[in-house]
């Protein structure tokens, strides 16, 4: 549980972000689930409201608020808080969206664009390092104590007026808590995007693009008292489409991921059931 001091700290951060003066910013949000390179301009502030649904035996739904601020052109800071809507004891061990933390985590993260090459009109090739620390709002996940987390990822990609490509990977680590430890999550993502010709005009009012996304996850065994919990690990591959629409300062993204491969769930003795498709709806607002 969060104590009073932590609540005050979180409230202070939320107020600071809320009352920062609206300054020029620009975004370029991409896929719903896969890693992508953010494009916040210096001084830019944006807000994302995300709904995500997961299902493994029981349905799980979450609403997430994420504030983004870019103190420098190459740096973006993010603060994300979850609001569980429908909670389940056994839910998939995942970061949810790759640019989001796990289901029950408050996360403070930083994106550092360490490489950028603006190749031409509307084209750029860039790479971003992502790191973050998280604090759980729930006591247990799948019967294991939830510990604080650390996330490290990297992504590289190409953006243009017509095509988008991103590839990346990351590692989510959970610290031990009272002798129990959640299994780590190692993942890789790939994204292909296309902006239809109609939306490549001079100054379009609407800007829509479609993506095909893939997420591969390797979840490690949970541990109790230095001993691995047998059959609590899993590997899976999910693929699905997403759609991003931008209008003025608003953006909406809708996506689904379908499991196409799962190493456990159908295996006798596995503690993890098969996963149902994941769904996500994200609403973005840029403070211009």
């Amino acid at each position: 549980m969060i104590n009073t001091r932590q609540k005050i700290l979180l409230l202070t951060i939320a107020v600071v972000f809320n009352y920062s003066p609206p300054v020029a910013a620009q975004g370029g949000h991409g896929p719903a689930f896969g890693l992508a390179t953010p494009t916040g301009g210096k001084g830019g502030i944006s807000y994302n409201l995300t709904f995500m649904s997961l299902r493994q035996d029981e349905p799980t739904a979450m609403l997430r608020h994420t504030w983004n601020y870019s103190p420098a052109q190459k740096l973006q800071l993010n603060f994300s808080t979850p609001t569980p809507i429908q909670n389940a004891t056994k839910r998939p061990r995942t970061r949810g969206g790759s640019l989001m933390p796990g289901f029950g985590d408050i996360e403070l993260s930083a994106f550092y664009r360490f490489h950028q090459n603006n190749l031409g009109v509307g084209n750029r090739f860039e790479s971003t390092l992502i790191t973050g620390v998280s604090y759980p709002v729930d006591e247990k996940r799948g019967g294991i104590n939830s510990g604080s987390g650390f996330h490290l990822a990297a992504v590289t990609g190409y953006a243009s007026r017509s095509w988008y490509f991103w590839g990346g990977g990351g590692w989510q680590y959970y610290a031990e808590k009272s002798g129990e430890q959640l299994g780590e999550v190692i993942y890789a993502t790939g994204v292909i995007g296309l902006r239809p010709r109609y939306f490549r005009e001079k100054n379009p009012h609407h800007d829509w693009r479609i993506f095909l996304e893939s997420v591969s996850e390797w979840t490690g065994n949970d541990r109790i008292g230095e001993v691995d919990v047998a059959n609590s690990n899993k590997q899976k591959v999910l693929i699905g489409p997403s759609l991003l629409g931008l209008y003025g300062a608003w953006g909406v993204s809708i996506g689904m991921l379908f499991p196409v491969y799962e190493s456990a769930g159908t295996v006798p003795g596995s503690l993890i059931s098969s996963e149902s498709p994941r769904a996500m709806i994200n609403l973005s607002y840029w403070f211009f």
Partner: protein, 172 residues
């Protein structure tokens, strides 16, 4: 009351300062129009962000982004102090790369050794490349309006201008 004669030195000094300031007030040496090429800008919010940044700059009366061409078109009033450095800095801060530009700028022509410069009210120094003053029958010290192509900046202290058109301001 002191006789007014005792105030003459102060009044004369104030008048002299005022007279010196009048010509400076009449100098209108700044960017009038700019078509700036931008690399890396791919989406509508990117363009909107750059446009909003530019509209907040001193003297900008209109700013429009063409995503297809990757260009920002800026129109200025004739009494501002926004430099080309500041404009390009705002594009870089937005995450994109300013490239060459077409500019209409007013300033004072100056000749230093064999080089011709255009001096404005900002810290921009414009170097006129391969400029033939005789072609325009112009002399140093004249106020002119120039339409020119600016090459991409390459870490030098001045901007290279290839002059398309030059018009001298009528002497008053």
């Amino acid at each position: 009351m002191k006789p007014i004669k005792q105030h003459y030195p102060f009044l004369l000094s104030a008048l002299a300062i005022l007279l010196m300031l009048i010509p400076l007030g009449n100098v209108k040496a700044q960017i009038l129009e700019l078509d700036q090429k931008i690399f890396g800008m791919d989406c509508a919010p990117c363009a909107k962000g750059v446009e909003v940044r530019m509209k907040k700059m001193d003297g900008v009366t209109d700013a429009e982004i063409d995503l297809k061409k990757g260009e920002a078109r800026l129109i200025f009033d004739d009494a501002h102090h926004t430099s080309l450095k500041q404009i390009q800095r705002s594009i870089i801060d937005g995450g994109f790369s300013p490239k060459d530009a077409q500019i209409k700028v007013r300033g004072m022509l100056e000749k230093e050794q064999d080089d011709w410069h255009l001096i404005t009210d900002t810290d921009d120094i414009f170097l006129l490349k391969e400029f033939d003053a005789e072609q325009y029958e112009i002399e140093t010290g004249r106020e002119v309006t120039i339409e020119a192509l600016i090459a991409e900046r390459d870490n030098q202290d001045f901007w290279n201008l290839t002059v398309d058109q030059l018009k001298a301001t009528e002497k008053s």
